[in-house]
Amino acid sequence: MKIASVIACAALALGASAGASADEFTEEDLARWQEQFDGVVKEGRALWTDAKLGKNGVVCAQCHPNAANTHPETYPKFQKQLGKVANFWEMVNWCIRNPLEGDELAADDPKMTALLTYATWERRGVKLEPGKH
């Protein structure tokens, strides 16, 4: 915070507009953002193993331990069975509807965000290859 205040003062002294500048963040900010992210990863992992996500007690982790074989780095990609280029969340909903016999989630449902966040985190370090099969 100290550094930010000093910079803010300096900006004022130079006659720039008042208030924090958009591209400034601190170690504390980074730690807080990471904490927020980690929390959502944790929620996603909980949903990944949650028998209540669908309706038949089947969980994502039964077929996808550690979210393996979901390949988030390959989306969007053409799915021949859907006949179009699809997003990762559309395939997650496909799984919720079919093997889990449940009701699909909205694309921006916080649960969907958590599922996608967890699966992508498990795939960290793998290069992006949109369209790959």
Binding site: N56, N66, N69, Q81, E122
Partner: protein, 357 residues
């Protein structure tokens, strides 16, 4: 290969003649000097019958087992017996084991059972044993010594002291990727029994071992692993011809370690990724293995299946019936000294869906 074996082309022809359906499955006569030495058995594994509530069970897993049983019953000539490789149930409950046993009761002929962790960790195998008998045993059949092990035991502290309820113990072991799980093992008591059992067997008698977990170390994170694998392998080492069949992994794996040929079983329920698909994992998939096709989730039964096994001259040839994929055969090659896929073993014969990432 010291046998003339043309099952693959037969299946292809018969499949073409009946259209898309892979039924009926029929076995070809094997051309041999002494056909009386040879026999076949069917091998079904990992059905994971899962109760929703009351009399409701997960349809998808039920269908996998029903199909394997129906197809096994159509084999001609009939297999001498059927092995069920473990994980009949998902959460080890009475209703699941009863329902699974009922589906299996449609099989013609003798069924031998192997214990899986999903059958065991609710009541430590008590109800399973009431239904199916001993948890480890051996038998002789046409000159081959068969051994069935319960390889999914673990450390006593984990089994007896760690969990407040049996239900939680089962749930913790049921999650393949659950870091609270514990490595599988055969254990001292059973290895002592195995030593005594094998002491009566001549070294040139072919040995076939069934376990649920691989009796080798592939990936500890998902228990594709047996903690005392080397000690079990050492007991098998003095024999000329040893074959180990295992379930648990829900995928095609095969390997050769010394004199021991290993072959895994497909699940009837669902396929698992190869450990290399988990970007954070250190794993040791046998180099010999040509992997199964990547599963297409739009086909419910894709990348599941069951096996039938020819035992000839004391060596085994496993045919994988893969439902939505082409049938594959992995047979011991006496010249190479290890199992080989009969079509895809050479690098240039492999197809794109066999590449996993």
């Amino acid at each position: 290969m010291d046998i003339k074996y043309d099952r693959r082309s037969f299946i292809k022809t018969s499949t073409m003649s009946v259209g898309a359906a892979a039924l009926p499955l029929t076995m070809v006569e094997l051309a041999f000097a002494e056909p009386s030495d040879n026999f076949t058995f069917a091998y079904i594994s990992d059905s994971h019958i899962q109760q929703i509530k009351g009399t409701q069970f997960v349809r998808n897993w039920d269908r996998g087992l029903i199909r394997a049983v129906a197809e096994t019953n159509l084999l001609t000539p009939k297999p001498d017996f059927v092995i069920f490789g473990g994980d009949l149930a998902q959460m080890g409950s009475k209703p699941e084991l009863d329902h699974g046993a009922e589906l299996l009761s449609k099989l013609n002929g003798k069924v031998y059972h192997v214990m899986g962790e999903h059958d065991y960790y609710l009541d430590l195998g008590e109800y399973w044993s009431k239904l199916f008998g001993k948890q480890y045993y051996s038998f002789n059949h046409k000159g081959v010594h068969f051994v069935v092990l319960n390889s999914i035991l673990t450390y006593d502290e984990w089994t007896f002291n760690r969990w407040p309820t049996n239900e939680q113990r089962m749930a913790e072991m049921a999650g393949l990727d659950n870091p609270n799980g514990s490595p599988f093992m055969v254990g001292d008591k059973q290895r002592e029994w195995l030593k005594k059992d094998l002491a009566k067997v001549k070294k040139d008698t072919p040995i076939v071992v069934f376990s649920h977990s691989p009796l080798q170390k592939i990936y500890k994170g998902w228990n594709f692993w047996t903690e005392d694998a080397e000690q079990v392998q050492a007991l098998l080492a003095p024999f000329d011809k040893v074959t180990v069949f295992y379930g648990h992994v829900h995928q095609i794996q095969y390997n050769q370690i010394g004199n021991i040929a290993f072959t895994s079983a497909m699940a009837t329920a669902w396929p698992w990724p190869y450990p290399q698909s988990y970007a954070q994992a250190q794993q040791l998939l046998p180099k010999l293995t040509v992997q199964m096709n990547r599963a297409d989730p739009f086909f419910e039964r894709d990348a599941t299946g069951w096996q039938f096994i020819d035992v000839n001259s004391g060596r085994a040839s496993a045919t994988f019936n893969l439902y939505n994929n082409t049938t594959r055969t992995v047979a011991f090659d006496s010249q190479a000294g290890h199992p080989k896929d009969q079509t895809y073993q050479d690098e240039d014969q492999r197809i794109a869906p066999q590449m996993h990432y």
